[in-house]
C-alpha cells in the first residue's frame, strides 16, 4: 500500500517539493535586504534591551517604515496557499477513482477498501505534515527579524508560523477527501471543500482567535498616544511582541486590550487543535461513509 500511495501521488510530491523550493528562493530574495538591514542597524541589541532608548526607537521606526508593509501586509497574498494545496491533494483521492471507474478495480482486490483508504490517508497526512512543516520553517525564517520587533501574534506571522499552517493544510485536505467521496468529481469537490475552509479561516481569524483567551487589559493615562497595528513598534503596552486588539477610552483612561507575546504557543495549540478536530471529523466521516457504501 505504501508503494501504491507513492505511485499514485509521486507527481504531487515532486510538485510540492518544487513549490517549497521556489517559495524558499522567492522569500530569500525578498527578505535578503531586511535581514541585512536588521543586522547592519544592530537591531538585535535594541530588541534585547527592550527597545527603550531613543536611538533604538528611531532606528526601529525607519526599519518599520521600510519593511513593514512588505512583511506585515503583503503576506496576505499567500494566505490561501495551505488551503489550495490541501484541496488539490485531497479531492482526487476518492473522486478520481469514481471519475475513471477504477474504484471497481481497486476495491475488488483482497485489501478491503477501508484499509486501502485509511492507509492512503495516513501516508498522505504524513506527507502533508512534512510539507506544512517545511513551509512553516521557510516562512518563520523569512519573517525572523520582523518577528523579533513586531511579534508573532499578528496574523501575518501567526497564520504562517508554529503549528497552525500545517493544521490549515490538513483541514482543507480532509474536507476535500470527504467532498470527493460525496461529489465524485475532483474539481467540484475542490471548490466544495475550499469554500467552507475559507469561511472557517475567516471566522476563526477575525472572530474567534481574539477570544480563545480573555485578552488582558492595560490601563493607560489619557495622555498616551493611541497607536496600534502591526507596524507600531513597540506597541502601546511598551513590551515588544504584544498584540494590541483594541483601545477603549473612558473619561480618565485608555483601556488597552491585548494579547501578551508569550501567549503565542498557547494560542497556536488552541487554533491548531480546532482545525485538527475538524480534519479528524471529516476524515472519519469519509472512512465511515466509504464503509457504509456497501450496504
Amino acid at each position: 500500500m505504501t508503494w501504491v500511495t507513492w505511485r499514485q501521488h509521486r507527481s504531487e510530491a515532486i510538485g510540492a517539493l518544487a513549490f517549497v523550493g521556489a517559495l524558499a528562493l522567492l522569500l530569500l530574495k525578498v527578505s535578503g535586504p531586511m535581514h541585512a538591514q536588521f543586522s547592519q542597524d544592530g537591531l538585535a541589541g535594541c530588541v534585547a534591551a527592550g527597545a527603550r532608548s531613543g536611538g533604538c526607537l528611531s532606528e526601529i521606526q525607519s526599519f518599520m517604515n521600510k519593511f513593514g508593509f512588505t512583511f506585515n501586509q503583503l503576506l496576505i497574498a499567500l494566505i490561501l496557499i495551505p488551503g489550495l494545496i490541501g484541496i488539490i491533494v485531497g479531492a482526487p483521492v476518492l473522486a478520481s477513482e469514481f471519475e475513471h471507474g477504477t474504484w471497481r478495480m481497486a476495491w475488488s482486490q483482497t485489501v478491503p477498501r477501508t484499509r486501502w483508504l485509511v492507509t492512503k490517508l495516513v501516508l498522505l497526512t504524513g506527507g502533508l505534515v512534512a510539507l506544512g512543516a517545511a513551509m512553516t520553517v521557510v516562512f518563520t525564517w523569512y519573517r525572523g527579524p520582523m518577528d523579533q520587533l513586531a511579534g508573532s501574534l499578528t496574523w501575518a506571522a501567526f497564520d504562517f508560523e508554529g503549528v497552525v499552517l500545517t493544521a490549515y493544510l490538513l483541514c482543507a485536505f480532509a474536507f476535500a477527501v470527504l467532498a470527493g467521496l460525496v461529489i465524485r468529481r475532483s474539481v467540484t469537490a475542490m471548490v466544495a471543500a475550499f469554500i467552507p475552509w475559507l469561511v472557517i479561516r475567516g471566522v476563526v481569524d477575525l472572530e474567534l482567535r481574539p477570544h480563545f483567551r480573555q485578552p488582558l487589559t492595560l490601563r493607560l493615562p489619557r495622555s498616551a498616544n493611541i497607536r496600534f497595528g502591526p507596524n507600531m513598534v513597540p506597541p502601546m503596552t511598551g513590551h515588544l511582541g504584544d498584540n494590541v486588539l483594541g483601545v477603549t477610552t473612558t473619561a480618565s483612561h485608555h483601556l488597552v486590550s491585548y494579547q501578551p507575546a508569550d501567549w503565542f504557543w498557547r494560542l497556536q495549540f488552541i487554533e491548531a487543535g480546532l482545525y485538527l478536530a475538524l480534519a479528524v471529523a471529516a476524515l472519519g466521516a469519509a472512512v465511515w461513509l466509504l464503509h457504509r457504501r456497501a450496504t
Partner: protein
Amino acid sequence: MTPALRADRLGKRYGHAWALREATFEVPSGAVVGLVGPNGAGKSTLLQMTIGLLEPTEGQVTVFGATSRANRADTLGRVSYVAQDHPLYREFNVSDMFRFGRRMNPTWDQALAERRMATLGIPLRRKIKRLSGGQQAQVALAMALAKRAPLLVLDEPVASLDPVARLEFMREVMAAVADTGLTVVIASHVVSELERICDHVIVLTGPRQGARAEVSGVVVQRTDSDRHSVAVVRTHPGRPDPAGWQAKPVGFEELVLAYLQHPASADLVPGQADPRPGSVAKAVSR
C-alpha cells in the same frame, strides 16, 4: 459437491426500490455461466454482492460455501473480478499495474501475469493509456487471473471491444478455464458470445426474477404478430405441429430473448437445472 456460487433468495434494495429480489440459483464448480438481462435487471448488483463490493439487503450469496460479505478480505480474496470497461490506472505502466496487484493481493502470481503479457506481446513498460482497448482488457484479465481466486467474475468484458479483440479475450478466458478448472460468471449483452462459451445461463428479467436455465432444454412462449408470427412453445416429442404452422428447433438467442420479453410466461422453477423433463423447444412460424 459445494457449488462454486450459490444465491439464496438474494435481494438488494436501494432506498425504496429493489434492484434485485428473490434471486436463487447455483453455479456448479468448473462451470462457465452467462448472466443475461436487460439494463436495470440487477446484473451488476448481483455481481457486486458476489464479489464483496456490496452487502445484500436480504438473502445471501455464497462462494464455495463461504458467505460473501462486503468489504472483507476473505470474501474479496475468493473472487477475481474484471469490471465493465476493465478500468485500470491510465498513468501506470503494465508492470506498475502488476505491482499494484501484488501489493493488494497476498495470493498474487507475478510469473503468471508476466507470462501472459509475453505471450500476448504486450510490453510491461508501456503505459496503460498507450495500449489498445483489447490490450487493456487483456491486462485486466491477467490481473484477475494472477489473483489466483477460484471464481472469476466478468462484467460486460467485451462490450467495448472490436470483434477480433472479443474473440481473443474470450479465447484467453477459455484457455484459463481449461488450464485451471476456474469457475467463470460472465454478464453480457452479447448473447451469441455466451452461446459459444457458456455451459449455463442465468436470465435476470427484473427485480423479482432469478432463474438459471440449461442452454438446451427450456421452453417458453413468445409471439410475434402481423403477417408472420413466431411462437416459441413448450412441446413434447412426437406431438404433431399445429396445422398451418411450420416448426423448427429453437435457437439459443431466440430462447433468451423470449425469456427477456415475457418473463411471466417462463414457468421455470428458479434454481432448477431441468425445468420439465421431456419438453422440447420449438420455434413455430406461420
